[in-house]
């Protein structure tokens, strides 16, 4: 009897997800984007709801994280169901997906290491997965970011950042991904903007890392550059300075690329923005965050012809982090739009603002 009841309960339909007709994004700024976090989102309707809200906000671009270790738990056995689901819904909403791939499965790293630890012996395993991903989503995912912030020790498995090793990983991945799908655009990883002093055990200055990546021959192994552009406490128009971290530090990255003959390669802001936590020292007030974010989107649209997309961190988390991280988001875990969401939507659609008293871009 009990088994019958449990079986019945299990068989009850979950919240119905209807795809409906495909959508397109209506926006006044085609570079507008957000980094979504759907990786740990369990229910399909929430994935759909998140992506629908991105579209309604007027953002044609999303960056999404696809953890290799989630999908290939044993070598060669890849379960594509989750990425299939996310990409199908994103495409249905008319969104362009930039896929960031990292997270080392347990079988590809020594015991007692973190999921960011990838040694040379397993570079080919990672590259194989990226190639399989590129082949599977041909025509659906145009851009893939190889790894994340390799200039930070914790993103490199708590080892000293190693630009030469990253160049090897990038080149191998580039070659194998292109063999699998010649159309895919491979992006070099966005570096964490950091001013870490030389020899720091925690990280390496992003500009130094990038220079060493070029010196190691990495420049031939990517089609575009992912950039992380955080504004911290500075307004978006603050001029770039190698000794400061601000939104326009992205221009220094592009200048460095140009010095190495890569000035024509497109850049993509795959993380960025401002935080409005009440006490974090690197945060601004919520109203400033709204204004700065809108002005940053507008700055990229007007001033950065080398930049294809600006995906701010982060659209929504599946659950609260209960830390300053929650103050990067546009929408709460319960799908309540924050004022920043409301105002960015108004900006994208050229509508009057609801909370701001004047137009931060000065356009209308």
């Amino acid at each position: 009897m009990l088994i019958a009841v449990l079986a019945t309960l299990n068989a009850l339909p979950r919240r119905l997800v209807i795809m409906g007709p495909p959508h397109t994004v209506r926006t006044g700024n085609p570079k507008l984007g957000v980094h979504t976090r759907l990786t740990d989102e369990v229910e399909e309707w929430k994935i759909q709801e998140s992506l629908a809200m991105v579209r309604e906000m007027g953002a044609p671009w999303i960056v999404e994280y696809f953890p290799w270790g989630y999908y290939e738990p044993t070598k060669g056995n890849i379960d594509w169901s989750r990425p299939d689901l996310i990409i199908r819904h994103a495409r249905h909403q008319g969104l362009r997906v930039i896929a960031r791939i990292d997270f080392v499965p347990e079988w590809a790293r020594p015991p007692e290491t973190t999921f960011r630890y990838l040694d040379r012996e397993h570079f080919a395993d990672y590259a194989e997965f990226v190639a399989a991903f590129a082949a599977r989503y041909r025509g659906e995912v145009e851009h893939i970011v190889v790894w994340n912030e390799p200039n930070l020790a914790f993103e490199w498995g708590y080892r000293l950042p190693d630009p030469e090793a990253y160049a090897e990983l990038l080149c191998l991945t580039y070659r194998m991904a292109k063999e699998a799908n010649s159309e895919v655009q491979i992006l070099a990883a966005g570096m964490a903007p950091t001013l870490a002093p030389p020899g720091s055990e925690w990280g390496m200055d992003d500009l130094i890392f990038l220079e060493r990546l070029y010196e190691a021959g990495g420049g031939a192994c990517f089609d575009g550059m992912a950039i992380h552009a955080y504004g911290l406490t500075f307004p978006p128009e603050e001029p770039p300075d190698p000794q400061e971290i601000n939104f326009r530090r992205a221009e220094l990255v592009h200048e460095l690329m140009a010095r190495y003959g890569d000035g024509d390669k497109p850049c993509y802001i795959t993380e960025g923005g401002w935080n409005d936590h009440p006490r974090w020292t690197k945060a601004v007030r919520p109203y400033q965050r709204i204004e700065y974010t809108i002005r940053a989107y507008e700055w990229a649209q007007r001033e950065w012809d080398w930049c294809e997309a600006v995906a701010m961190w982060a659209f929504r988390y599946p659950w609260p982090h209960k830390s300053y991280q929650d103050h990067f988001t546009f929408v709460t875990p319960e799908f309540i739009p924050k004022p920043i969401y409301v105002e960015v939507r108004h900006y994208a659609h050229g509508e009057p603002y609801e909370y701001l008293e004047s137009d931060p871009t000065g356009l209308w």
């Binding site: 973190t114 960011r116 930070l152 914790f154 708590y158 925690w202 409005d276 009440p278 006490r279 974090w280 020292t281 690197k282 007030r285 919520p286 109203y287 965050r289 709204i290 659950w319 982090h321 209960k322 830390s323 300053y324 991280q325 709460t332 309540i336 924050k338 004022p339 920043i340 909370y355």
Partner: protein, 289 residues
């Protein structure tokens, strides 16, 4: 009246004896099952008893407690350009070191990396205004809370009658006007109370907290919602305000250690218990807020 034959009596005795045996076996099996269940239920206790706490042993052996924090979060933890740490959490860490007779060293790590750094043995404890996270309890041990940073209702000190946001309405039909900082947690909570609980709120979002406070102090707003840390700061500046009633939300801040450090966490909790009882924690709060 029929009389039992010797054979049937013998059968009856054997049957009774067999039933007793079965009953005895059943009782034994039941006791064993109960024991197994108790052991499973109290598994963590037994595991703790048999487990060596390497972190605690190392702290004792080396005379050094390593504490991880993201020192960018006043008044809990900040670091100067000269590398000097200060704040409530720093005091807490030093007090633990003093209690255990060991030196304390702070390790400054970006908040995102705190858990990974703990896992890779960069330090023994995280003391960093860390919110309790129920999704991490398989890998970590959390202490009791030493501070609740949830949202509170702030209001004029002369409204002594108010202990709940609903009390603000009084006899009037007018909505309760609540000042909040635009886009802050208090703003989201006020919208949620209005939307989900049907409270008749008129939410007054202001660009700066100072503007929200001005509305409250001038009587244009009945109350103000903000987090407890901000509330303490405002109370220091404005003696005519008070926190009304219990917190509207709870956000316990805790200390974290690895799951295989039961003794270390036991020692942390013993200290917190004692300090809560003797007023040390309250004094610490008063020092920084």
């Amino acid at each position: 009246m029929p009389t039992a034959s010797p054979t049937s009596t013998w059968r009856a005795i054997r049957r009774a004896s067999g039933e007793r045996k079965i009953a005895r076996w059943l009782a034994l099996a039941l006791a064993a099952l109960l024991l197994v269940l108790v052991l499973l239920w109290q598994g963590e206790y037994w595991a703790d008893l048999w487990q060596r706490d390497v972190a605690w042993e190392r702290i004792q052996r080396d005379g050094l407690l390593r504490v991880g924090m993201d020192a960018s979060y006043p008044p809990f933890e900040v670091v100067t350009d000269d590398g000097e740490f200060f704040g409530l959490d720093v005091d807490l860490a030093r007090a633990l070191g003093e209690r255990w007779g060991v030196e304390v060293v702070m390790v400054n790590v970006h908040f995102d990396g705190l858990y990974d750094a703990l896992r890779t043995n960069k330090f023994d404890l995280i003391i960093s205004a860390l919110p309790y996270d129920r999704t991490m309890t398989r890998d970590l041990r959390y202490s009791q809370s030493y501070f609740d940073a949830g949202q509170v209702l702030l209001m004029s000190a002369d409204r002594a009658d108010v202990e709940d946001i609903r009390d603000l309405r009084g006899e009037s039909d007018a909505p309760i006007s609540i000042a909040v900082e635009l886009g802050a947690e208090g703003h989201h909570l006020a919208r949620k109370l209005y939307r989900d609980q049907g409270l008749p709120l008129e939410v007054l979002p202001q660009r700066e907290m100072d503007e929200a406070v001005a509305l409250l102090r001038s009587g244009e707003a009945d109350g103000l919602i903000c987090d407890r840390v901000t509330a303490y700061e405002l109370l220091r500046e404005h003696g005519d305000l008070r926190i009304a009633g219990p917190p509207l939300t709870s956000e316990p801040l805790v200390i974290a250690a690895l799951i295989d450090a039961p003794t270390l966490m036991e020692q942390v909790n013993a200290a917190l218990n004692e300090w809560r009882a003797d007023g040390t924690l309250e004094a610490l709060r008063a020092r920084w807020f």
